[in-house]
Amino acid sequence: MPEVKTLSEGIFEITKGKKYLSTKNLDPGMTVYGEKLLSIEGSEYRTWEPRRSKLGAMVLKKFKIPLRQDSKVLYLGAASGTTVSHVSDIVSGGAVYAVEFSPRSMRDLISLVARRRNLHPILADAGKPNIYAHLVEPVDVVFQDVAQPNQAEIAARNAARYLKSDGYLLLAIKARSIDTAANPKQVFRDEIKKLEQAFEPKFEILTARDLNPYHEDHLGVLAKLKE
């Protein structure tokens, strides 16, 4: 008998032969990126590949994941929607504002978005959050995975406009996108310091862990606004 254990709201660990991280499929019968579908007691789950998703890796690295069934999420760097699809499963009664600036990636994202009514795609540069101010409401979570040198600043600008005062920032930092030559540990320390001090609003870091072995030279960060 397969066993379903809840790791966090809407996030499950399914044991069926081996252990699978998974979310309940909001779009039954459809897969998004070649993941497996598991049917258990009338519910369909999609397996979630932590090596393909930094958020998935954060779950396995025991981050507290602040997503609820009705959360509003601003997702920066949606790419073709691998992770977005799982966030959409988790916040089945909420909304995800999926920002991506590459038209090529947006093309792929659109075919996912078209099938899920809680996804709102935005083709825009996350570094200029005013561009989507007429569309985006205050959110419970800002998730960011943009792999850009100025990612701390992008996070602050978006949090300033859109993050509720009791909301959370989830951030994936890629060392190589900041400085290809420097030591990743040093890059991470500098980025954390930027989040804590460099911009308005300032963040209080709740958790910061590297995402090994799922993603090399990546740091996951959970933060909230400093009072």
Partner: protein, 338 residues
Amino acid sequence: MRLESWFGTLDLGEDGKVLASDQFSKNVRELALRSLSLREAGKGVPPAGFDLRSAALACGFVRSSEEYDSLLHEVTLDAAKLQISGALTPDQRIILAVEALDDVNETANVLSERLSEWYGGYFPESGLSGETLGRFVAKYGSRKNVAPEDPLYARATDSMGAELEAFDEELLKGFATSVCSLYDRRKQIEAYIESSMENIAPNLSLLAGPMLGARLISIAGSLEKLAAFPSSTVQVIGANKALFKHLRSRAPSPKHGIIFSHPLINTSPWWQRGKIARAVAAKLSLAARMDLYSGKKVPSLAEKLDAKVQQIRLQNPEAPRKKPDRGLKPKGKKKRRQ
């Protein structure tokens, strides 16, 4: 205070409450087009933290939160689709063609090497390769069919190659025809790139040649990005490997990227190349900007570049005595005499 939202224009009171609203009709396409026009408007931007959903409910634009999400979903989806269909600008089309050209070239090379290997068993003395071999095999098949007036006639009759029987000949001729059609495709794509470049980047085309110009746009990602690069970057575009090496270790910074294939640079003696590359890069950078902003061809650009290069040549006629350090060896390790 008056602000713009995706569903209408709102007047807010001191306390942030919606006093009045001018709501748009619930037509998805209209809402999507308005949403796109609001992106750049810069005025009426809602204050940070403004709750659009509550406002939409309060002023009766939608009746429920579900309806809000449903409609917003359709509007953002439609807007994104409109943006995507407009995103395939002429320079993006050129980039797709450049990428296709690279694939065609690679495939043509692999297949013509295969043909050379294969046909070599039947006519090893042909001395042909690439496109000429493809045309030859497609035309004659077996070397027995080579016409007496063909310069290869003598070699064909004396060849030590095996006899090509009808069954195998069909196969080889068909294969050679495929190779030829790849070379035809290459010419077609090159012609497309040349004429498109003449249209969208006449100055870059003039100074760099259409193919090099198209490659610069392709690596930069767009004409706009290329125009925004400082000329020192234009000079090293395409030198990624050397550039990373420079950043990681202490290898010297690369002097030139793909602009090295420019005839003014690669026909110059080594001691002039760095200076000429800098001059070429500066003018290409200028040309890209002119193409982006005016689009008009300025023939005098080419003369100015030639004059500048001529001047560099005159000022540096002799090779300096010491060859510049090629920098392949890391510093600190001196070469020991044997």
